[in-house]
């Protein structure tokens, strides 16, 4: 399973999002620190879920970071996050 697919699955399971975007932006960071051949190092994600209702930005991002802690510790170098409740 690719890291992208794993991220999608974990976010779907955790937040039942009404909208979910997971983009591998590794190509745009070729040659930068953290970049590896084959990509899957830099991701941009957008999650729309009722789970974020009433949460501050920091709280919402923490929820995402916790779900993806394993990926962040294993190869995912950068994660741009956008969360919305609706």
């Amino acid at each position: 399973m690719t890291t992208k697919a794993t991220i999608e699955e974990k976010l779907t399971r955790a937040f039942s999002p009404t909208e979910l975007g997971v983009i591998d932006e590794s190509d745009r960071h070729a040659g930068h620190s953290g970049w590896k051949e084959g990509g899957e190092t830099h991701f941009r994600i957008e999650v729309v879920s009722k789970a974020f209702a009433g949460k501050s930005r920091v709280e919402a991002h923490r929820m995402v970071n916790e779900v993806l802690a394993e990926e962040l510790n294993n190869g995912v170098h950068a994660l741009a996050i956008k969360t919305r409740a609706e």
Binding site: R62, N65, L72, L79
Partner: protein, 112 residues
């Protein structure tokens, strides 16, 4: 290591605005850190940039300090504000400016 945690706590408490980043404000070594530098410079806020690339313990320690897995991290008056995405969203919504005003941090006409 508790030593690095004490050191971070001291930095955060003794400086009104601290940015833990990769590289320096004059020469950011990461696009995300660079974006926050640009925003702070645009607002004319005086801040201290701490380069986490200089020390492996610091690089890990700052992640543990706020249980936040990524860098950059912005602190205002001892409080964690957010990473790059949050800082940018807050800036675009005029909320970052509000945080500085509410916490009594001068923006705009800074001396240096």
């Amino acid at each position: 290591m508790s030593g690095i945690q004490d050191w971070i706590a001291n930095e955060v408490k003794t400086n009104d605005v601290v940015l833990f980043m990769k590289g320096t404000p004059a020469f950011p070594q990461c696009g995300f850190s660079g974006q926050v530098v640009q925003i702070l410079d645009y607002l004319g806020v005086s801040y201290k940039g701490v380069n986490v690339l200089e020390d492996a313990d610091l690089r890990q320690g700052i992640k543990d300090y706020s249980s936040w897995p990524t860098i950059p991290q912005l602190y205002v008056k001892g409080e964690f504000v957010g990473g790059c995405d949050i800082v940018r969203e807050m800036f675009q919504a005029q909320e970052l400016q509000q945080v500085f005003t509410e916490k009594g941090v001068a923006t705009g006409q800074t001396a240096e």
